[in-house]
């Protein structure tokens, strides 16, 4: 294994690509500070999303806030904790682009769900939809909307 050419300095962080012999075990090494900052930030964002529920925000405000906090947290975890920020683009794109396909499934699922809801209303509902699917547990009171 090649020897380290005096690069074992955490603060130096990024080595130059053409720097020659790399020591075997010194890959993703970054100052600890950034981890603590992200850790704190994740706590703040989690608290914020909990407060959305605690204060009973409803409707679009609730959904927007939940999604924004969710995506921010996910981004921070992937970028810093999972080191995507420091990976080569070839692997970053190989991992992060394919999940975009799921948006198609999401769209299909939403259309399908709406359609099922509609047909259930047509077939089972007379005016207000009543509970039809699922037997529920024995003690289930009939819920109304």
């Amino acid at each position: 294994m090649a020897h380290a050419e005096g690069q074992h300095h955490p603060a130096a962080g990024q080595q130059h690509s053409a720097a020659g012999g790399q020591h075997h075990d010194q890959g993703q090494q970054h100052p600890l500070g950034i981890y603590f900052k992200i850790w704190g930030l994740l706590f703040v964002l989690s608290t914020a999303s909990y407060l959305v529920d605690y204060f009973h925000f409803q409707g679009y405000l609730r959904w927007t806030l939940i999604l924004v906090f969710m995506l921010l947290k996910a981004g921070l975890i992937v970028a810093v904790f999972m080191h995507m920020l420091w990976e080569r683009l070839a692997i970053v794109y190989a991992i992060l682009v394919p999940p975009l396909l799921l948006l198609v499934l999401l769209g299909i699922g939403a259309i399908e769900g709406d359609h099922t809801f509609f047909t259930r209303g047509v077939f089972f509902g007379t005016g207000s939809p009543t509970p039809v699917q699922g037997t529920g547990s024995a003690a289930a009171p009939a819920p109304h909307r």
Binding site: M70, M82, A94
Partner: protein
Amino acid sequence: MAQPALTGTGEALPRPEGLQGIVADWSSDQRAFKNVPWGKAMMWIFLLSDTFIFSSFLISYMTVRISTTVPWPNPSEVFALTIGGKSIPLILIAIMTFILISSSGTMVLAVNFGYRKERVKTFVFLLLTAALGATFVGMQAFEWTKLIVDEGVRPWGNPMGAAQFGSSFFMITGFHGTHVSIGVIFLIIVAIKVLRGDLDRMRPGFMTGRKGSYEIVETMGLYWHFVDLVWVFIFAVFYLW
């Protein structure tokens, strides 16, 4: 974007920036992921497939929730706990969230100390991560018990509303809990290898001829952060929605 860090796979060749760099890496006659150790690349690809599994669960949950004509049980009330005579909405789930995030934090420290070759510190933080993970699973077991025994939630129905609530809940959190449990087991295995000095002595691991190295701590970390990542999505779309 920051410069990519180098990992122990020999020299990484200089490359063009941006899209040209991606094309150059992928079209080279060597390996596409040039400075990524084999184990780490494979872990990422596994996590990608796992992403699709969890997404399928969450999207089917969305579909059944949209399509039901019966009101969905309010998670805020279902998962409320009474502490000191006062009912606090969703508090158990919030605590579980903080525990899992903290375990991600300790994991990232373990990875860092691993690359610094601080054997004992790495071991301690790995064990701390495993302990937090086990706590999470324990709280989940408590939550399941409460729901099944006290509230009468079943995969086919529940007293509070839409029958699909139970099936979605058990499927999604069950699969996630399984991931956490497996993670805890592997964390302990990696911790033992670290403490024994296997990685310092480059002793090959179980079922492989490859030399042991602290990269396995980072690979383990990827899995663990992914579990945390999935929880972020479950927390948002199942518990908070």
